[in-house]
């Protein structure tokens, strides 16, 4: 982006809900502010983006401007913030003592970041400017004192609650413009400011990660063709110059551990695939793949079956194949699915793939996902027949725990709200600041629902939140993971609410994707409100053992 374009985007008329950002820099924020505003506005069409800036020369004081109204806080740290002698505007020769002085300032900044992170998401960039020539060593040598300073900021990166922009993600090129630094206190060339702003905005507004990856086998998961080379002839190692396939397997292993669903779609002999999967040197465990569609039917058919088993939308899935024709056919059948050609010996293929599934935290539910899908297959099959579903649920020994409470905030609740599409009352999304503000309202109640049965544990799979008004409950938020479908958990949730309140009103808004909840509401609350007695007459038999946990005290029913 050029500055002219950034100014045009930043200054164009805007409307919609406010998005308030705080940009904290020790230098004059000038074009970084413009670029950040432009990038935020591009990512947040339909919102009014405003940027408040910090205090010149004092990062910690700037962070004190953060309040509950801030949606995101951006901190661009530079060396001069640790000690003015480390900046080009006031450079001065320094000795070992500068490390101690910088440590004291950095500790103050670190404490201020921790305080700000309690009210909103903080995104931090580490120093990007070169140090001025204040040491005796030449610029090609990493000076010992500079090494100490760098270690200090990396220690901050390792311990802070802020999201830290990876220094290597910034575009190569000069980060310093001494002329403007001296002229007006803005140290960056615009290209660097633009790259930094784009990175900061990206971290504050991450895209929803994909949920599943479907991979081809021959010349993709491994080098070689199973039908020609046999299970012992395929490879993924240095000796056969097929190590890149091994790296791909390692990546799939990592993704699986973080809860990504892995499936296989391969035109292959099923018996040969089964045999190949017994090889002990595979980096990825075959049990991590579910389902495995290995046969001679079309890939489109394989993808159809996999989507059915996973019960997720095509746009949440990435399909990887080495054959452009297969990719094209799948793309035609599922236009919203991301279809990526396997690119051998291309590091960006691996990092790009990882980025599509990236998440900041791995939760227990991520580890449970694949296993619960396997066991859920029986439930889904039975769902088509009410009699067999009743028999299955009656013997499932299901246990539901409804945990009420807003403090301390459970990040899983916000994660579920922001990624659930199908069973979602109105599709509303929240950023951390909006969510905290919603919970801060004394009339709001929040419940997180956990489920397990004899087939396994699903973990925290539903969120209900709303406000108590004149004896009734206005349900603002209701989401449930698609893994929990067909177990009548949604009925039990509503029953729990109606155990506390006589009437529940649902703030339902139809979306393109929330068909499942629309159908459910049509059955039990077509007027978007339901009384206890009405619900009892509409509810099918429930077999769960339920427990409500109110924190200090709990009731079992």
């Amino acid at each position: 982006m050029k500055l002219l374009e950034a100014l045009q985007i930043a200054n164009a008329p805007q409307q919609g809900d406010p998005f308030r950002a705080l940009l904290v820099t020790g230098f004059s924020p000038l074009h970084l502010e413009t670029a950040l505003k432009a990038h935020l506005r591009l990512a947040l069409a339909g919102r009014t983006v405003t940027i408040q800036t910090g205090v010149f020369g004092d990062i910690a004081a700037g962070l004190e401007k953060a309040d509950a109204g801030s949606n995101a806080i951006f901190v661009a740290l530079e060396w001069a913030d640790l000690d003015p002698r480390l900046g080009w505007r006031t450079m001065a020769k320094s000795g070992e003592e500068i490390v101690g002085d910088a440590r004291a300032r950095l500790d103050r900044i670190s404490a201020a970041i921790a305080a700000a992170a309690r009210v909103a998401q903080v995104v931090l960039s580490l120093p990007t400017l070169p140090l001025p020539p204040i040491f005796h060593t030449c610029s090609g040598e990493l000076n010992r004192i500079e090494g100490g300073l760098r270690r200090m900021v990396y220690e901050l990166a390792a311990s802070t609650r802020a999201t830290v922009l990876h220094p290597e993600s910034l575009r190569a090129g000069s980060s310093h413009d001494l002329r403007t630094d001296l002229l007006n206190g803005f140290p960056y060339p615009f290209a660097h400011a633009d790259a930094l702003a784009a990175g900061l905005a990206w971290l504050a507004l991450p895209v929803v990660p994909k949920k599943g990856l479907v991979t081809d086998l021959d010349e993709t998961l491994w080098g070689g063709v199973l039908g020609d080379d046999g299970p012992e002839g395929i490879s993924w190692d240095l000796e056969h110059h097929t190590q890149f396939h091994g790296l791909y397997q390692e990546l799939l292993n990592l993704l699986s551990d973080s809860g990504v669903l892995l499936g296989v779609a391969s035109k292959n002999d099923a018996a040969l695939v089964e045999k190949a999967f017994t090889r002990r040197d595979l980096a990825v465990r075959p049990s991590q793949f579910f389902p495995v569609e290995a046969h001679w039917a079309s890939k489109v058919e394989s993808l159809r079956r996999i989507l059915l088993a996973w019960n997720i939308a095509p746009d949440a899935v990435v399909f990887v194949d080495d054959n452009p024709l297969e990719l094209e056919q799948v793309k035609s059948a599922y236009p919203t699915m991301e279809c990526i050609q396997f690119r051998e010996d291309d590091a960006r293929f691996l990092t790009g793939l990882r980025d599509r599934f990236a998440k900041r935290e791995i939760r227990e539910e991520d580890r449970l996902r694949v296993e619960s899908l396997r066991t859920g297959g029986a439930v889904l099959q039975a769902a088509g027949n009410p009699a067999s579903l009743d028999a299955l649920l009656a013997g499932a020994e299901a246990r539901i725990v409804v945990r009420w409470g807003k403090q301390p905030p459970d990040a899983r609740a916000l994660e579920l709200i922001n990624k659930t599409n199908q069973f979602n009352l109105n599709g509303e999304r929240f950023d951390e600041a909006d969510w905290n503000a919603y919970l801060a309202d004394s009339s709001t109640h929040l419940a997180l629902v956990e489920y397990e049965d004899r087939f396994g544990k699903l973990g925290r799979i539903a969120v209900l939140a709303g406000r108590e008004r004149e004896g009734r409950f206005d349900l603002d938020i209701w989401v449930m993971s698609c893994r929990a479908f067909s177990r009548r958990i949604e009925y039990q949730c509503l029953k729990v609410l109606l155990g506390r309140w006589e009437t529940v009103r649902l703030r339902f808004v139809p979306t393109e994707r929330n068909g499942p909840i629309r159908q459910f509401i049509g059955e039990v609350a077509p007027e978007l409100a339901v009384r206890r007695d009405e619900f009892d007459s509409r509810c099918p038999p429930l077999y769960h053992q339920t427990e409500s946990d109110y924190g200090q005290y709990s009731t079992t029913g």
């Binding site: 500055l3 100014l7 164009a12 403007t180 615009f190």
Partner: protein, 83 residues
Amino acid sequence: MGNTQQRDDTRQRLIRCFQAVFPKLSESDALRASANRVTEWDSVATMNLVAVVEEEFGVLFDVKEVEKLNSFERYLNRLSPGV
């Protein structure tokens, strides 16, 4: 490109720069813009204008001449002198 045509081209590009920094200016307002006439023309706007014009025209202004660039006309004369 003749000198007159070149100056017209410079004028149009300069108008775009001024309108990017001062979005409320019409084309004719931009032509008459100066630090005295445009209330939004403060020190931050000065730096924005300098940077956007430098970027657009691939020039670098001397630090000392920046303070003299206080009107559309002066920018135009600096970028396309002698017509």
